[in-house]
């Protein structure tokens, strides 16, 4: 699974150990991070004479990472534009989003966001982080979830599906799933 990890670059020095912990959990579970930004961002934060960041590039890279990712994990203890913007985009793309924070969630603005793809959790220690992130990854691993599949159909197929749906009382998706299952069984 591809996971996009997001954290505050403004407070990266305070969050770095937790971000590394999340990164390790993601990788150790056989997943991939969509954008490997931690090291570079941390080096920028500790250096004093770095040139200004190319934010247009950063925004594009993050949006592309959201598009590629199956899920998004946000460290939201220190939150700013970056997390808010990307949370909205990820949820609009219907990606499961986990926001974790060391601050009480009830007092954070993201506690107001109501979306069925959003999970918000509070943590205190790196052990908490492991438990929460592992659970989130497990809950959203593609092999354990149904997937949405969109396809174009021509009019004869549409007419056939409509007529079969009427005759059998099944919906069109069930008929297609039955057809595929039959094909899978035939090929053993």
């Amino acid at each position: 699974m591809i996971i996009h990890l997001i954290g505050s670059t403004n407070a990266i020095s305070e969050d770095i150990s937790y971000l590394h912990a999340i990164n390790s959990i993601i990788l150790n579970a056989g997943n991939t991070v969509a954008l490997d930004w931690l090291k570079v961002a941390h080096e920028r934060a500790v250096a004093h004479d770095t040139p200004p960041e190319n934010w247009a590039f950063t925004v594009d890279a993050n949006l592309e990472a959201i598009r590629r990712a199956d899920t998004v994990i946000i460290e939201g203890t220190h939150h700013d534009y970056l997390q808010g913007y990307q949370t909205a985009i990820a949820l609009e793309h219907k990606k499961p989003v986990l926001i974790i924070s060391r601050n009480p969630n009830a007092k954070s603005p993201y506690s107001g966001i109501r979306h069925r793809m959003l999970t918000i959790k509070e943590y205190k220690t790196e052990k908490d982080v492991s438990r929460i992130v592992e659970q989130f990854i497990q809950d959203n691993t593609v092999t354990t979830k149904d997937l949405r599949f969109n396809m174009f159909i021509d009019r004869p197929i549409h007419n056939y599906l409509r007529s079969m749906s009427y005759e059998t009382g099944k919906n069109k998706s069930e008929i297609i799933r039955d057809l595929i299952n039959r094909e899978i069984q035939k090929k053993d």
Binding site: V59, D80, Y81, L82, Q83, E92, P109
Partner: protein, 192 residues
Amino acid sequence: MKVHFITAKPSLENEIEVLRHIMRVIADNDGTLVHDWIEDAYRNEIEAGKSVDDWTDIYKKNLSAIAQADVIIAETSYENLGVGYQIAMAIQQKKPVLLLRHEAADKETFIVGVEDGWVQHSEYKDKAHVTPIIQQFLHENDIKSKDMRFNFFIDRKIYNYLRWAAFKTGKTKAEILRELVQNEIDKQDFKP
């Protein structure tokens, strides 16, 4: 024109006069605030020092305001998760967004990299400088002077007719429809 005005708590704290000026300019240019929240928030959060108890209510009101608004104006001199979220939602809904920043504000921030056809970034020096920026933004995005998208459902009979007419005339289906409406307008001597 319906305007949704967004800003962060530190702006309320440090720039309330600029925010009030922005609201006056919006009103003076026939703009209406969809969600008039600034003064209430200033009284409660800054003057009375109360913290927000119900973020869900704020979230719902802001999403509803974005949906209703024709344009979005955001004062973005201070970092804020909620403002970032709302800007993204507005862009997703293809609303024109004006991102105002004080020229002294920190430029090392994610929002300065947001580039989209719907977004205008503008820096201001002081209150007076804000006025022409907002006036121009409102004028450029005035519905009276812009084409609008219109989606509607058609049944198969109408679809077949439009396809046939498009083929016969070499016009697009949208052109044929616009001509039909224009003919009807002309017939009825309608004055907008």
